[in-house]
Subunit: 224 residues, 2 copies
DNA sequence: ACTGGTTATTTTGTCGACAATTTGGCTATT
DNA sequence: AATAGCCAAATTGTCGACAAAATAACCAGT
């Protein structure tokens, strides 16, 4: 099992773990509508677990800002707003910029070699016209750099918190968009900077990369 | 009630809220030792609430990285390590830098006026030789700028998560340190940049400010 | 005395029941 | 008809009990 997989596949051992992951999936992928109320008893029967388990799952979703809860009233899935998406991308710009800086400092040469390999594989796909790239490939690229930062707090913030919310926006607002080839070039330059151990440039390029991505998404939001 | 206070005094309505806040306080301030085990039944009698309430409180502490839990084994207060502190400061540098940038863009002129007022008040204290400054004053300064970012996700990340952990290190490793006057000058320049709506400079100065603070703390860690 | 396996004990995870709070609807009064 | 107050239904919050898992203690065999 690769390093990435161990981090991503949070091995769910308890019933609350599984319910949390399932519920998050159902919300992120839109099976449960954004903004809708989460009734504990209802979910309890739906997922065939006790209400305690549902409560714990909901509480965890509250912690990653996917659900909001008012005391004695109940929990609702967050609403997807343009402002919320912008907030997320500002944080991504900040944190992933720092991640790239730290990756340039802390990645092993083996990890950098692997990253170059990933880039080469993506290049083949892009050349072959597969638009498969952007979903899995882009995510994989960013994950490796974040892991390369070796900052566990940073890794957890992005993986456990931000990324699920970003994916929720992506899926539900249909942001499967293009920007494939230009994004590839940006990735290439970032990897070059990391290979050169140029922390300053790596951070700057990553920030630009995410800023462009945000601009791209904002345009789509407006056109809707 | 000022804007800051509404954000800081999380009004605890349920019993789980109060227990969470109390437990966090006891951990952050060292009443409960770092690295120690958190027995649910034990805490249940200690705080005179049911075990469900304790469980919920612990789960929330897990979400803000103050406690770690292993399934079917139990929860422990995190250990305080130099690496952990560095991780935190790297994140602060990144996020608060972005906060300063956004504050330069989004703070109202009234808020900027207030911020200048705060600075003036601190100057009087520093001049008067009160070292009171650095604890409350420094925190107040940073809080206002973070709030000034108007990015709720960012605000929550720092207030609900990072800052309690930072305070835990500060309190338990006795980082009440000096650096008062130099920090004041740094604050002054940051406020100037924000007043000029110079986003770029505000971010850069804030990052430097936090970097210096980190260097200062690291030196103390070594000398111990 | 030491190691391996087995049983007890303790601790966590889950469930259903009860208490407290909110919400919606009803009645009465103006 | 509108509003205020009150009551009923539903939902959340908390508790204690039971189930499952891990740790500790114990015993047997070498």
């Amino acid at each position: 099992m690769t390093r990435i997989e161990t981090f991503l596949s949070e091995q769910a051992v308890t019933s609350a773990d599984k319910t949390f992951i399932q519920l998050r999936k159902d919300i992120v992928e839109g099976q449960i509508q954004a903004g809708s109320k989460l009734s504990e008893t209802e979910l309890s029967t739906k997922y065939a677990v006790g209400r305690s388990v549902i409560r714990e799952a909901i509480n965890r979703l509250v912690s990653c800002h996917i659900v909001e809860r008012k005391a004695n009233v109940g929990a609702r899935v967050v609403a997807l707003t343009p402002e919320g998406l912008i907030d997320l991308y500002q944080i991504r710009e900040s944190l992933e910029g720092m991640a790239a800086r730290l990756a340039a400092k802390n990645m092993t040469s083996q990890e950098i070699t692997d990253l170059n390999g990933l880039l080469a594989a993506h290049f083949q796909e892009v050349k072959g016209g597969e638009s498969y790239y952007q979903e899995a490939g882009d995510v994989d690229f960013h994950y490796r750099i974040i892991l390369g930062s070796k900052n566990n707090q940073l890794i957890s913030l992005l993986f456990d918190g931000i990324y699920h919310l970003v994916r929720m926006y992506r899926v539900q607002l249909g942001m499967a968009g293009p920007r494939v080839t230009s994004a590839f070039d940006e990735h290439k330059h970032i990897v070059q900077a990391i290979s050169n151990r140029d922390e300053e440039l790596a951070e700057m390029l990553m920030r630009r990369h995410i800023l462009y991505s945000r601009n791209n998404i904002e345009q789509k939001l407006i056109s809707n």
